[in-house]
């Protein structure tokens, strides 16, 4: 096992899938010679050539529309949108076609493509480079929406996404790209899409999060244990859609209390759906109203104030205490 950053782990997944299957192709802006602005596709053009690693003209709709055609032909395009904030230029290709080609052709065609894009705040970036708009995609029937939280699950999930017969939107928490390293095995390791994981056991409270917010969530869990003697169970969603609520429901049945944490704005965000599922399936087990700790319903400010916007350990703890006190 080698210690890898998330960037390296994603690169490993891409390289190995390309080695195994020549239908896997990579395309996007600056993914070839430059190796991607975050270097996730570093070296792929040298190994696989410029017919499999396409430096495209600057047009997201072009990248995604072309990927759909490639997928209909039987290839497995993995396209990179340089920042999720520029995926609106390709929104209609995803909504009108990628998500529906199977349905529109009554199963004659399907779209085994992956759209990778860095998302989220915390890296002191320019405007449009820090948003967390996973709800747009999770709201679209026909898509899968995956968000890893560390190098190892990023690798395993990307492999699954590439092999998935349907379109997967794969959001990479850019704040975690180089934030820490994990052991990632060289040999194949796959993590199934649609399986949230319990990453910390506890009986007093269920904390549900994903992506870059897993770190403050876990820190809050540790602090709650140290300061309040509270045993918090922490669940990493990993797949936003299709949302598999099974282990969330089981956990809340046990703890009776829950906090949902995400950096996306609160209203109509993933938290709203998660809370609804819990209301539908675990209502009678709840001891307190479920709390959401989220980004505010405003545009994430330019970087000097982004910390104030993003859920902090303190905010998570405050909400957890509120739920525990009820």
């Amino acid at each position: 096992m080698a210690k890898m950053t998330m960037v390296q782990a994603l690169n490993l997944a891409l390289r190995q899938e390309m080695e195994k299957d020549d239908s896997v192709v990579v395309l996007g802006e600056d993914v070839g010679v430059d190796g991607g602005v975050f270097r996730v596709t570093d070296g792929l053009i040298n190994q696989f050539g410029d017919q499999r690693v396409l430096d495209t003209p600057l047009a997201e709709s072009g990248i995604v529309g072309m990927s759909i055609g490639m997928a209909a032909y039987g290839l497995k395009p993995v396209c990179e949108i340089q920042f999720s904030g520029f995926a609106y230029q390709n929104f209609h290709q995803i909504e009108n076609h990628a998500a529906r080609l199977r349905w529109r052709s009554q199963d004659r065609y399907h779209v085994p493509m992956v759209l990778r894009a860095p998302y989220g705040g915390g890296v002191r970036a320019l405007e449009h480079h820090s948003e967390s708009r996973e709800a747009y995609w999770a709201h679209t029937p026909g898509l899968k929406m995956v968000i890893p939280s560390g190098p190892r699950n990023a690798r395993g999930l990307l492999v699954s996404a590439i092999r998935d017969p349907d379109p997967v939107i794969f959001y990479e928490p850019k704040a975690l790209y180089r934030a820490f390293r994990e052991d990632v095995p060289e040999e194949e390791e796959i993590m199934a899409i649609g399986e949230p994981r319990c990453v910390r056991q506890g009986s007093d409270l269920t904390m549900i999060s994903y992506g870059a917010m897993m770190r403050p969530t876990l820190e809050a869990a540790v602090e709650l244990k140290e300061k309040d003697g509270v045993e918090a169970e922490v669940i990493d969603l990993l797949t936003i859609s299709p949302l598999n609520e099974k282990i969330l429901v089981e956990s809340v049945k046990k703890t009776g209390r829950a906090v949902v944490i995400h950096e996306a704005p609160r209203s109509f965000g993933p938290g709203a759906e998660i809370v609804s599922r819990l209301m539908e399936k675990a209502f009678y087990y709840l001891e307190a109203p479920i709390e959401r700790v989220t980004g505010y319903d405003i545009i994430i400010p330019l970087f000097s104030r982004e910390k104030a916007y993003l859920p902090s350990v303190q905010r998570i703890i405050r909400s957890a205490r509120k739920v525990l006190a009820a």
Partner: protein, 368 residues
């Protein structure tokens, strides 16, 4: 029926007035007043020195990521100088010299680049849109501004800026088509700096020029030496006059070069050679213009040295003002401002909650 040629009603011209040796093509002299020439020089010099200062501030961690403009001053400054103050400027993000020309303060650039939204504020009386990071997206706004002026029977013109990479986006093509169909008073200025991050022009388009794309939409297109401020100004003046007098839109391709990195987060050594950069340094628009002004008797080496010292001082004062202002901007509650004319009640609640939490945190911090 035999195949026959359809004649297309336009050709693409290339305009250069001041060559790399600062020699003027007298027949094409745009006859700019001495006053304006000196003002352009001063702004160009200020913008260049400011770019250098921003880079050092960024390297010291005193501002965030920003896109340097060095080498492209003539391309955007020459174009915007053809506008009246009441015309509209629609920037991308690499037009700092043009923004300064339009009245943007240096401290607002610093404040913006240090991650404060206040730095993007546009005072009443300046008819500019804020910089636009999503590539090409702003082009259509210029069409809307221009058409609105026409609808109101005003003779205002809108000028849109964008890069070579932007010409691949759908918005660029929609923008040109709309402007031509509606005969909107718009000037499209493409700063073709040869690169879109790591993608060279040859991988962006198979067209010989970007200017020729205008022909497909039924408008004039011209390619100019974008490092020759006289040529850029002359082409822009002609296009602005045409737009103002009801002649519709024009596309101007300024052939220039980004001498620095794409942004301070970029490493150009990964995709281009030093040799290429060196070659373009010989075409640097600033010394080219300066030497011309010296020959013309408008400047001397001494005057340039003095002007340099003055702009460096002006920049220092702006840095000081910006740093002082930023200390006062600290309050993060500002992030709730300016989103709606009237804040929805649930956002108001979130703001109150945020203020409460902030007060608690500050109290905790005080008690330490």
């Amino acid at each position: 029926m035999p195949r026959k040629k359809i004649s297309i009603p336009n050709k693409i011209e290339y305009l250069s007035i001041l060559n790399e040796k600062s020699e003027l093509d007298k027949k094409l002299d745009p006859d700019i007043s001495d006053n304006l020439l000196l003002k352009l020089h001063r702004t160009m010099l200020l913008a260049r020195k400011f770019d250098e200062r921003l880079l050092s501030l960024q390297r010291q961690g005193r501002i965030g990521t920003f896109p340097p403009i060095s080498g492209q001053e003539a391309a955007h400054l020459g174009a915007v100088a053809a506008l009246r103050p009441t015309d509209w400027m629609v920037p991308a993000f690499r037009e700092t010299a043009a923004e300064i020309w339009r009245g943007r303060t240096l401290e607002s650039v610093i404040i913006y680049n240090n991650g404060y939204n206040e730095g993007a504020a546009i005072p009443e009386g300046r008819y500019d849109l804020p910089i636009s990071v999503p590539v090409g997206s702003q082009i259509l706004h210029a069409v809307g501004l221009g058409w609105a002026a026409k609808y109101r029977q005003k003779d205002d013109v809108a000028m849109a800026f964008f890069g070579d990479g932007a010409t691949s986006e759908g918005d660029f093509h929609e923008g040109l088509n709309f402007a031509a169909v509606f005969q909107a008073p718009v000037v499209f200025v493409c700063q073709n700096n040869q690169w879109a991050i790591s993608i060279p022009l040859a991988k962006q388009t198979r067209s010989k020029t970007l200017a020729q794309k205008a022909l497909a939409y039924g408008m004039p297109g011209i390619q100019v030496d974008g490092n020759d401020i006289l040529a850029v100004f002359a082409a822009a003046r002609e296009a602005v006059e045409r737009a103002r007098s009801g002649g519709g839109p024009t596309l101007i391709e300024c052939v220039t070069y980004r001498l620095m990195m794409h942004t301070t987060a970029d490493d150009p050594k990964r995709y281009r050679t030093d040799k290429e950069v060196e070659q373009w340094k010989n075409r640097d628009p600033l010394p080219r213009f300066q030497n011309y002004l010296i020959r013309k008797g408008l400047l001397t080496e001494d005057k340039i040295a003095k002007a340099e010292a003055e702009v460096v001082q002006e920049i220092q004062e702006a840095v000081d003002r910006a740093e002082k202002q930023m200390k006062e901007l600290g309050d993060p509650v500002h992030m709730f401002a300016h989103l709606y004319a009237a804040m929805p009640p649930y956002v108001e609640e979130q703001k109150k909650e945020f203020e409460r939490e902030l007060a608690e945190l500050n109290k905790e911090a005080d008690h330490g």
